[in-house]
Every structure is written in C-alpha cells, then in structure tokens.
C-alpha cells in the first residue's frame, strides 16, 4: 500500500520488554513478553527470540496464556483489541475488538481507561474478527498499576450466589487505610496464595504483609515481613503456594517460606531493580524483569540460567550515539557507569562494558560517575571515554580513559586512565580520521579554554600509554566543537563564533573562519569528494559551508539546525531542523546548497542524538531521493524535553520491512505520558518489502495520544 520509493520512519527495536510481567508457557520452554506493539516469544534455554507476534497497532499491555489451550496466548493492547495467538507457530488466530482501551488483561478481566476492572466475555465464533460486546464491570476505581490487582483461586464467589460472578478479584480495599500515621505504607503490589486464604501485599516502606481472614468483616489479621529496605515492587507465590517471592530495588530475589517466614533464601546481584516476577506453571522457572530492560530466567531460585537483555534505557543518553566500527553496533549509555553495545541488525544487546569500574551504590541523591563522551577511531582499535562526576558545590571529577581493542578477547581493554585531563567539563572529543591507522590522535576540548591533543608515543618498552601532546587555546575562549578532516590533516576547533583550523602535524594555526554574531553550535567536515568543505551551524540559525581551499564562505542558508552529522561512507550530510514542535530532516551534499532529500515532520519534539550506521549489504536504489540510504541507515533518538522519567517504552518495528517513519510517544498504563527517547530508523522502502508493509502499522496518531 505504500508508494514505491517512499521514505518513512520506523521504530527500530530497543523496545521495553520489562513493562509487563513476562509469561512462561506451561512446558517452561518459552517466555512471552509484551514488547512495544508486539509480543515476543523467547526461548528460555537459548535466550533467542523465536517469534515476534505482530499485529497490534499500539502498545501491548498484557499477555496471558489461554487457560483452555496452553499453546495459545491472549494479548491486549491500547489499540482496543484482544488478540489470540498460537505462539508456537506465531500465527494470529483471532482478533477481539473492544470499544475501550485495554490497559491490562488479567484472567479475562480488563482495566479500561477509567481504571475499572471489567470482565470481558469472549464469544466463541469462527470468525477471525469478533466484536466483544459483553463487558461487565467488576470493580471501579482500581489502581492503574497492574501489580496492585491480583486474583485468587480460592476466593471464587460461591456458585449459589450468582453463576456469572467472576473469580473473586482482590484489590486492596483502600490504600490510605493505614496511612494515618504518616507511614510510607502505600500499597505497591499484591499476590494471592493459590490455595490458602492468604493475601500478600507489598508496601512502599519495604514491608510485606500477609493478610488472613481477609474476607471476614473485622477479624482480618496480618503478619509483617520486613527485609526490603525500599519499596517492594513485585510479589508472587509459587504455584504450590509453598514459597513467596519478592523483589524490589535491591536487585535481590527473596524467597520466603510460606508459614516459616523467618527462613528465607536470597538470590542477590541480579544487576538492577526487579520490576516483575513471574513463575512458570510448574514452578521450576522464575523470571524477573528488571528496570534495565532485562529479563532473568532463574532455575528454582538458585541459578540464573538465562538473561534476555533489551536496549538499556538509562536515565538519559549523555553520550552521542556512536557506531562501533568493528561490530557495527550502536554504542550508548546503558547501565550506570556502563556502555552498551547494541546490535542494530538483530535488535539485541551484545554486551555491556563497565567503564567506570566502580561499585554502583544505590542511594538517593548520591552523585555517580557517568559516562559522558565516547569516541572511536576509524578502524575501531581505540575507544576513548570520558566519565564525570559532579558533586554539589565542588569541582567536577573527570577521567579520560583510553581503551584498546583486544583481538583475543574481542573486547576493549583499558589502556590509559588520565585523571583530570581538563579542569572543566569536556565539551567535545574526536579521534583523527587518519586513514593509515598508524598515528592515532585524540583531541579533547574543554570549557577550561584549552583543547588538548593526546597521542600514543611509539615507545620502545611494552604497554604504551597515551599522553598529552599539545595544549592549544585561542584568545582565552572556551572551545566548543572539534572535528578532524577526512584525511586527518586538518583540525577545526570552534571557539564561540570563531572556527580555528589547525594543522595537527605542526600544531600551527592555519586560519580562522567566523560567521558572527552567534557562537558555533556544530562543526562537521565533508567526506570523500567534499572533504574540502567544512560545515558549521551557528546559534543564530545559520548553516554555513566554508571552502577550506579558498578559506571563504561557500554558501550559507538560514535554518535552525539542531543536529548536524555526516555519513562517513558517502558525501551526504544530515541536518535536523526543529521547527514548531516537529523536526524536519534535510540530507544534502556540502558541495551544493540543494538538499538531496528532505523529509518534513519526521517526528515531534527535538532530535537530540543521531547516527549514520553502515549497512551490511548495499542497496541498489535508483530513486534519487532515497539513494542516500543505500549505504547507510540513519538512526536517531528523540527526547521529550519536558518529561524526565526513567520509564519509557520503545516500540519496535520489523527488521525486514522497516519504513522510514516516526517516533512514538506512548502513554503507558497510568495515563501519563512517560516516554521520551526512541530509537528510530531511516530505511528505504524498496520493492521487495512491500508486502510486509501491510502488517506494519505506522502509528503516527499515537504521538498525539498524550
């Protein structure tokens, strides 16, 4: 249905897999989890994604095995449908449309927009598309948090009273009931014992209460279990009811013996805070979802057997998006103090690299070291990282680390640590692009008014380490950007409105270029045939192109470029312009001020990070407007500047037929928009993926749901 040659934006993976509780199939072979607009089926033994159940047009909010057929699974979504899938074959069996938005499905009951708990009767019929009309509200005014609703088996309403009564739904009667003392005992989650008259609730102050006699009017009583020091985020009974599992911020899975609560087992060091716990129906596997977009599969609370890791969505991406030249993987901030290497092709996290190499201590308000800059040299032999910690009312602590690629371990090994390389924040850092790869050089610019060149001296003794080669400054101004020309013979450093061009060989100031009145925002050399051009954007909304042979301005145009970057494999450059809450993308060659391609309203909000990633296979497209995507793909991150919540959902798209589409801001279940950063992907729609595009939904309208 999509016109040939159209370019659109698609979500490219990195979806959140920890937004809802995962589901383990009856035979414990597969793990199903909601991931953006689709349901992913993972193998519990190999960690591989077996199937991708595609069909929902909006965020999937609940997954549930069909009680009558253990090879089928229901999923519900904000798009208002409940779908039934065969997960072993990955086939959609039935679509059930509901007039309401579904936020969670639990045992055939759905939390709708007003957060009522309703029972949906799913009619039996042969048609694939069925409209469900029968909705009966079970409870109104339930919490939007699905963890705060639980179902018990033993609390089924007596059949005498009403045959239609749903299985008794238990929600905490009133969350503020015990709040009169000002204690932080807000209810966080709930679990019902599978056999006994016992309900477990987890509270914000870290206590777990086991309620008994709960359906008696007054004589209910409770036991308090206290191990967690912070809010209990998930509770689950094992199927036999012999153990209670709890998890929280401590990233420790606690197993309490039911009725023998003083005995408990711990599975510590699970990496990050536990958000959900799921238990396989036979009780052999436990699954824990973690806040760093990870699902851990645990065998009988003893051993971690598999880890399914999605793209880690840290607090914010401080580093630029980088592409590791060797693995062609995307590199960005991951867990605190780590860099993650994320394979774009396979939508899979390759590994996390510990940069800070300090134990992470969780404490509110504690300033942690953060990785703020990353740079790779052209062949991928060296990586430079900058980590920074800014204690309140103190000088920032900065470390520059240089990592060498070790062929044997196929990983980066720390080579040099430079503590306090600059006296103030490092604003920009880049490697020289020298093609020979022999003399690597790193330039760092800092707010302290200096830029420094770092070199690896060819010393005789073993273990060479990097050292400072040159310190440059210009009229005491603070350098903002630095950039090497394609052949490494020129270094451009911007000092406010002045661009200085240096020769790295002699460290001689060759020329200065300037375009007053405002400071330079971005600098970029042209590549290949256009390497004589230096592109720059200024804060006064000018895009300038200087010809370095003539040292004069070649052309300039007035546009508010928020991000400028060059494709290392072609002459193309991409500029993101933010205008009126939406971003336009222009692709051009520095040689001429005419865009090769322009895309209006790529996404709403400002694009803060973007990267060109090389393609594995070159495409043969003849369309002029899409030729620029033949060799590389453009990935970008958007950011909703107003919201700074760590929880965000990245809806994913198909790997095969990703179209050039938009970014999505998703309202998660609590009705507040929480999403900010999305990885999206520019892709060429070529002919062979046309038929798949039919199932791909371009959910442009979702952006306006907030």
């Amino acid at each position: 249905m999509v016109e040939h040659g159209d370019i659109r934006v698609v979500h490219r993976g990195g979806s959140k897999i920890n937004s809802r509780e995962p589901v383990v199939t009856n035979d414990s072979r597969f793990l199903l989890c909601a991931s953006g607009e689709r349901v992913k089926v993972f193998s519990t033994s190999t960690e591989e994604c077996v199937h991708d159940l595609r069909g929902h047009t909006d965020l999937v909010t609940g997954v549930l095995l069909r009680p009558t057929n253990h090879l089928q699974v229901y999923s519900c979504s904000v798009d208002g449908t409940v779908r039934l899938w065969d997960f072993t074959d990955g086939i959609l069996i039935k679509v059930q449309t509901c007039s309401w938005l579904m936020f969670d499905i639990v045992c055939m009951c759905v939390c709708a927009e007003l957060f009522q708990l309703v029972a949906v009767h799913l009619p039996q019929s042969g048609d694939q598309l069925v409209e469900a009309q029968e909705l009966s509200a079970v409870l109104s005014n339930v919490s939007s948090n699905p963890a705060a609703t639980g179902f018990g088996r033993g609390v089924r309403a007596p059949p005498l009273r009403s045959p239609n009564a749903p299985p008794g739904a238990i929600t905490y009667p009133k969350t503020d009931k015990d709040n009169k003392k000002g204690g932080k005992n807000t209810l966080m989650c709930i679990a019902c014992h599978p056999k006994d008259d016992c309900i477990a609730t987890g509270h914000e102050d870290g206590k777990i209460r086991l309620w008994r006699n709960f359906n008696h009017k007054k004589e209910y009583t409770y036991t308090t279990l206290h191990w967690h020091h912070n809010a209990v985020s998930s509770l689950r009974f094992t199927p036999e009811g012999t153990n209670l599992l709890s998890g929280g911020l401590e990233s420790v899975l606690v197993q309490w013996r039911y009725n023998q609560e003083s005995e408990r087992d711990f599975l510590p060091r699970l990496g990050s805070a536990i958000t959900h716990i799921a238990v396989s129906p036979d009780g052999t596997l436990f699954c824990t979802s973690h806040s760093d977009n990870k699902i851990t599969i645990i065998q009988s609370c003893v051993k971690v057997s598999a880890v399914i890791q999605g793209l880690v969505n840290g607090e914010s991406v401080r580093t630029d998006l980088m592409v590791d030249p060797r693995s062609k993987s995307l590199v960005l901030n991951g867990k605190p103090g780590h860099l993650q290497f994320y394979s774009l092709q396979r939508d899979k996290l390759l590994y996390n690299l510990d940069i800070v190499q300090q134990e992470y201590i969780h404490e509110l308000g504690l300033q942690q070291f953060e990785v703020v800059k990353v740079a790779f040299d052209a062949p991928g032999n060296w990586m430079a990282t900058v980590e920074e910690r800014k204690p309140k009312a103190a000088e920032p602590e900065i470390n520059l680390k240089l990592w060498a690629f070790d062929e044997q371990t196929q990983s980066f090994v720390l080579n040099t640590t430079v503590s306090a390389p600059h006296e103030a924040q490092i604003t920009s850092m880049c490697f020289s692009q020298a093609a020979d790869g022999q003399t690597s050089m790193l330039v760092s610019a800092s707010e302290d008014g200096h830029f420094k060149a770092w070199q690896l001296p060819r010393s005789a003794y073993e273990g060479p380490s990097w050292s400072c080669d040159f310190v440059g400054d210009y009229r005491g101004l603070a350098p903002q950007c630095c950039c090497f020309s394609a052949d490494g013979s020129l270094l451009a450093v911007s000092f406010q409105e002045v661009v200085t061009v240096w020769s790295p060989a002699s460290w001689e100031l060759l020329t200065t270029l300037s375009q007053p009145p405002k400071a330079i925002r971005d600098l970029c050399f042209g590549r290949l045939g256009c390497s004589k051009y230096l592109m720059g954007t200024t804060a006064s909304n000018l895009l300038c192109c200087w010809n370095l042979l003539t040292c004069s301005l070649e052309w300039s145009t007035s546009m508010d470029v928020s991000l400028l970057l060059s494709d290392p494999l072609t002459e193309n450059m991409a500029a993101f312009c933010c205008q009126a809450e939406s971003t336009d993308l222009f692709v051009f060659k520095p040689s001429e001020p005419r865009p090769v391609a322009s895309l209006k309203a790529v996404c709403s909000g400002k694009v803060t990070r973007a990267v060109f990633a090389p393609r594995e296979e070159m495409l043969e497209s003849c369309e002029e407007s899409s030729q620029w995507l033949n060799r590389s793909q453009l990935y970008f991150l958007t950011q909703h500047m107003l919201l700074q919540s760590p929880a965000h959902v990245l809806p994913s798209t198909s790997v095969l037929c990703s179209m050039f589409v938009e970014s999505l801001l998703v309202s998660v279940a609590d009705g507040r928009s929480v999403v900010h950063e999305h990885l999206v992907h520019v892709f060429l729609n070529n002919s062979h993926s046309d038929h798949l595009c039919l199932t791909l939904n371009v959910s442009q309208q979702n952006t306006h749901r907030l």
Partner: protein, 687 residues
C-alpha cells in the same frame, strides 16, 4: 487561669522496679503484678486500669510467679516460699516453705470440680509439688515424680488430669493421678555458639486440644502435639529468649514476649475458606518495650505486657475492639496511681517516698520577677535536708509530712514510725512512745494545724492520734457504718479541721465530723474507684475524682451533690477529658480564687473555674493558645471552665504552697530509661 510562680522540681529520683510476673483474674478482671523488689500491685481492668492496691515489697522476697485461686492471690519466689496475700489489709497473710529450693513457677487449676483446688509449684531440685488450697491455708499434698533439672514452667491441662512442665532442654507431661511422667519432649538447642548451652523452656501453655506450646531460650515458639509427644511446628521468633507466653481464653490467639522487647502474636487460623485445617500462624508483632518482656497476659481484648523497662503496657487488639474508641487506645502505665510526694505547704518542704528510704528536701527560693514563661534565677538552691532509712526488711508503704514541717511519719506493713523534726537546726527525733492501736497504716494524713494524725487502719477504719510536744496520744478510731473491709487509700482532712474524708477501694467515700467524732455522711457510691478527694476550705464541698475521669462535687452541709456537679453530670464531660489515660492523683484549691479547683494527672495539670461555662462537646478543650491570640472581647466568648496546662510532663506531684507558688515535681521518663540496664544488642539496618 492565673499566674503562678512554679518550682519545677526534678530531683525526685523515683525509679520503679522491673516487672517480674503477672496474673490475670478473668472473673474479677483484676491483674496482679509483681515487681522485682517484691512489691505487688493490683489493677482493676474493669475500672480504667486503675491501680487499686499496692502491697509493698520486702527485702529478700523475689516473686517469680503469681497465681490466682478464686479471689485469693498466691506468689512463689526464689526464696523457696509460697505466700498468700491478704488483699484487704495489703500484706502477706502467711508463707509456706516448699522445701524444694528456689521455686520457679506456680500454677493452679483454673476450674475444679471438687471442692479442693490443687496448686502446684515447680522447684529448682526438679520436683513438682502439689498443694491443696484449703479455706485458710495451703497444705502440701504430694510430689510428682522427681526429675533431673529444675522445673522452670508449669501449665495445667484444662481437664486437670495432665500437667506440662518446662525444664532444661525438655518438656515433660505428667499424669496427675499417678504422678508419673507420660511424655518427654526434647527441645532443640540453639544453633552456633549456644549449641553447648542448655535451652531453658521459659514458658509453656497446655491447650484443651492437647496442644502444647513452649517458648524457650533459643528464641523458638514450638507447637507440640501433647497426645503423641511430637513437634508440630517451630517458629523462630527472636535471636534471644522467648520469656513469656499467654493464650487467650478461647485458645484462638497466643502471644509470646521476647528479650528484644517485642510481643509476637500467633493466631489459630484456618488456611482455607471453609474453616478446616486450622493452624497456628504468626501474625502481628508489637514493639512497645525496650527491654525483656517478662510477663504477659492475653485478655479478651488486649495484650498486657510488662518487663525490665518497668512499664505496664496494655495493647488492645484492634480486631477485638471498636476502632477509635477509648478502648482501642494503647496505654502505658509508668507511674503509680498514687502520690509518692508529700508537701509541707507552710514550710516549703518536700518529702519523697522510696521503698527503702525517705528524702526530705527544702525548696529553692527566688526573688526574681519575670514574664510568664521565663525561668527565674535561683537565690537559694534546693537542699536535701534528711535521708531517712527505714528499719526492718519491709518496704515503706506510706509516709506523710505535717503541713508545718514539724512531724514526719511513715509506715510499713509491720511497723509505724513517727519523727519530730526541728527545721532550723535540722534534727530529727523519733517519737518512741506510740499508741498500741497504731501498728501500721495504709495511708497517713496530718491535719492542717498539725495537731492530729490520721492513719487508715484495718477494716476501713481511721485511727486519730493527737500530736503533742513530748508524745502522741491515741484519741479514737473512726469506723464506717458499711462494715467494709477494703483498705482506705485516700484521706483528706479539711482545712478548718472539722471534716475528714476517706475513700476506700470499694468505692466508698465517707466523711467524718471531727468535732462530733462520728460519721457525718456517706457519699452515694459511684461505680468507679475514687482517685483523689478534697474538701473545699470555705464552702465545705467535697470534690471527688474517679478513675473513669468523672468529677463530683458534694456539699457536706446539704448532704447532696451541688448545683455545679449536677450541671456537669447533665452536660457530660468533654470527650477529650474522658479519653485521658492517667487518673487524677491530686485535687487542691486556690485560696485566692475560691471557684478554682486545681487537679493534675501524669501529663497535665488543670484549673477548673466553676464560675465559667462548661465546655460544649464541640469546643476545643485545649484552647489556651487560641485564647491567647484572640482579642479581649472574643476571649471572653471562648472561655470555658477547663484550663489545662501541658507545659510540665510526667508529673509526680503538683501542689500549691502557702505563698501561692506552685510546686511541680517532674520525673522525665527518659531519666528512668537511662537508669535501666542496657538492652540486648540488636542489629539495626544500616548500622
């Protein structure tokens, strides 16, 4: 309210003794409590937990266990004796030597079909001795099979045919008929270093379904099947000791007190909805103590606990009582419900009563003037004049200082002593010749002119003694008409010397005319025990405050309740006033303002201005701060009779001196806490 110069006294080093044992009589709703110094206290739970009776302690009497048999109270202690108490005369009635070394526990059958009630004691030498409770004494019956190791705890099976005994490392079940042990249950020792130490079964409970529950020094509460002698379940409650257990009467709930100061509740709950498969499940944990919980009682509606930190705590079970009522409030009883301070109004002297000595202090002086709230410079520091040690081994039960400061009297259960004080030279001389009728007293009181001494004696009678310079002379004995045998716990002689009011624990208030030496009238009996009485100096109205916080004013001239009292009863007292949980322990009047009644409890003192309107139910009772902020005309509108001051806390005594200054004796609870031994070490998170 008026302004007072206040002597804020904090040099009364009152130190209550640790609570050792408790026994609750469900029929009379009386709680008997034994302290470490041997003193016994009786609390009436039906009457606002009022401390009705105090039996003073004795050197060398260490009560380990208490037990009610009907209305009779028995105690056993490490001195190897069983003592029965005379609750009418507040003294031990007799003691019986058990001849088995120190006694750790005593237990009586709750209900007995035959007339004779057996009573058992567990001894250090491993014998369980059976005693028969006779009409006026107890008699040794027989020994059960002697065991190795001491018997720490005992509990009868409700059928009175079996008895469970907690020992070192084991529990034994005896058949009472044959005296033989039928089962021997081995209790596991603690892990780690305590493996080599014997485990002590500190407490044991035997339920009617033959379940035995034990609490031991390894911190376990264990549930046993008494028929088969097998362990059903172990609950590890603490790292330290489980010292006390108590089961509710319907056997559905159980509490265990630990060395950590926690009380852990277990409930007999069915795990499924149909009510089958009941099991003992650990439920709530109460932490109201800082030290060992040595004694526990599970009443119908509350958990009563006491221990090393000397406080008696009543923690209502919220599933058993109505929420947000007076009954659902937790109570901590730290101070005795009677005054231990005597104040000589004219001389400015304070007499502090300790169990084994008396202290006489002269108040400081200050001539400074300042604004309300200022602390004035002390010109002369308060001074301890005399420390008088008691003679004999019985502890002091009451003491008094005459208003002029010239006489000092104290009494123990066996002896009475009177001293003559020379104030200017600070000398003390014992009055050697005392009347024969004055052997001991429950309460002492001097007349305002210090010429008479009133001492409450047996059978609610009051002995009147005339005090003259060389000697004292017995005048007569005042007796009530009712023939009550309950002890008089309150005495008040009116300022004009005409009236003497007495109140006894049977709630009777009698007024004697001292001129005619006969009973003037009996105030109509009110259902709650009087906690303070006083006669107005000019109007001769008797003010009585009861344990349920009600206030009555009775005109002695008209022999009826006054108009104000009727008005107060008709309108009812403010709910906040009724919800206070400590009794009024003293009432006095302000001679400058005849309409003012000054009274105090542990947390406040209050001036009731009878000329002002009574507070409505909706008005704020504590409105002093609001009144201060209002302009004058508004202030008049919002005034009401109750003017309360909470500036001073933990009050032992508030008295008005002759010079119109107020003496306030405080004993901060923190000072008491700081004198307690260190509690068991507990690991706290993030330390």
């Amino acid at each position: 309210m008026g302004e007072f110069k206040v002597h804020r006294v904090r040099f009364f080093d009152y130190m209550p003794a640790a609570i050792r044992a408790m026994a609750f009589n469900r029929r009379t709703e009386r709680l008997a409590l034994a302290r470490a110094d041997g003193a016994l206290e009786i609390f009436n739970f039906a009457d606002n937990y009022f401390q009705e009776k105090v039996i003073p302690g004795q050197d060398g009497r260490a009560v380990e266990a208490l037990c009610w048999v009907g209305r009779r109270l028995f105690s056993a202690g490490l001195n190897g004796e069983i003592t029965e108490y005379d609750l009418e005369n507040l003294r031990p009635r007799y003691t019986v030597e058990a001849y088995g070394g120190p006694i750790w526990t005593i237990s009586a059958v709750a209900y007995s079909l035959s007339g004779c009630v057996p009573c058992q004691v567990g001894c250090e030498d491993g014998t369980v001795k059976m005693f028969e409770v006779l009409e006026d004494r107890i008699q040794f019956q027989r020994n059960l099979d002697r065991q190795k190791g001491r018997i720490i705890s005992l509990c009868w099976h409700p059928s009175a045919s079996l008895i469970a005994a907690g020992m070192m490392d084991m529990i034994r079940i005896f058949d009472v008929e044959t005296g033989r042990a039928t089962h021997r249950l081995l209790v596991e020792r603690g892990v780690g270093a305590s493996k080599s130490k014997e485990v002590v079964v500190w407490s044991i409970a035997f339920l009617s379904d033959h379940t035995i529950i034990s609490g031991d020094s390894a911190g376990k509460v264990q549930i046993w099947d008494g028929l088969t002698g097998t362990l059903a379940r172990t609950h590890l409650v603490t790292k330290w000791d489980v010292l006390a257990l108590s089961v509710s009467q319907d056997e559905s709930s159980l509490v265990a007190g630990t060395s950590e100061g926690t009380v852990v509740q277990f409930q007999f709950l069915s795990s499924t909805l149909d009510g089958q498969n009941k099991d003992w499940v650990r439920t709530r944990t109460f932490k109201n103590h800082s030290h060992d919980v040595r004694a526990l009682v599970h009443t119908e509606t509350a958990v009563v606990s006491g221990g090393m930190d000397t406080q008696l705590v009543v923690r209502p079970l919220l599933d058993k009582v109505e929420k947000n009522t007076q009954e659902s409030a937790m109570r901590k009883m730290a101070f005795p419900h009677r005054s231990l301070v005597c104040c000589a109004k004219k001389a400015g002297l304070l007499l502090f009563q300790f169990p084994d000595h008396l202290e006489l202090w002269r108040l400081g002086e200050s001539d400074g003037h300042g604004n309300p709230g200022d602390s004035l410079p002390v010109k002369r520091k308060p001074e301890k004049l005399i420390q008088l040690k008691r003679k004999g081994e019985d502890h002091i039960c009451c003491s008094a200082l005459s208003p002029c400061g010239g006489w000092l009297a104290y009494s123990t259960v066996t002896s009475f002593r009177l001293y003559r004080l020379q104030n200017n030279t600070i000398s003390i001389t014992k009055v050697s010749k005392l009347p024969k009728d004055l052997r001991s007293a429950h309460q002492l009181c001097f007349s305002t002119d210090s010429s008479r001494l009133f001492a409450s004696s047996i059978n609610s009678s009051v002995v009147v003694v005339a005090l003259n310079q060389p000697e004292c002379k017995y005048l007569h004995t005042l007796k009530p008409k009712s023939g009550s045998r309950e002890p008089v716990h309150l005495l008040f002689a009116s300022e004009d010397g005409k009236w003497l009011a007495t109140a006894n624990t049977a709630c009777e208030v009698q007024v004697y005319n001292l001129d005619k030496i006969k009973l003037h009238c009996t105030v109509p009996v009110y259902g709650s025990c009087p906690t303070a009485i006083a006669i107005h100096p000019t109007s001769s109205n008797l003010v009585v405050v009861h344990a349920d916080q009600q206030i009555f004013e009775y005109s002695l001239v008209q022999k009826e309740y006054t108009e104000w009292s009727r008005r107060l009863q008709k309108q009812g007292l403010h709910s906040l006033w009724l919800e206070r949980d400590t009794p009024i322990t003293h009432v006095t009047f302000n001679p400058k303002h005849p309409a003012h009644i000054i009274l105090h409890d542990m947390f406040m003192f209050c001036v009731i201005d009878q000329s002002l309107p009574l507070p409505e139910a909706k008005t704020r009772l504590f409105n002093q701060m609001i009144l201060r902020s209002l302009p004058e005309p508004m202030r008049i509108l919002h005034r009401h009779a109750f003017k309360m001051c909470k500036t001073f806390q933990n009050l032992m005594c508030v008295r008005l001196l002759e010079d119109h200054s107020l003496v306030v004796v405080e004993r901060p609870l923190l000072d008491i806490m700081s004198q307690l031994p260190a509690p068991v070490r507990q690991k706290r998170f993030a330390t």
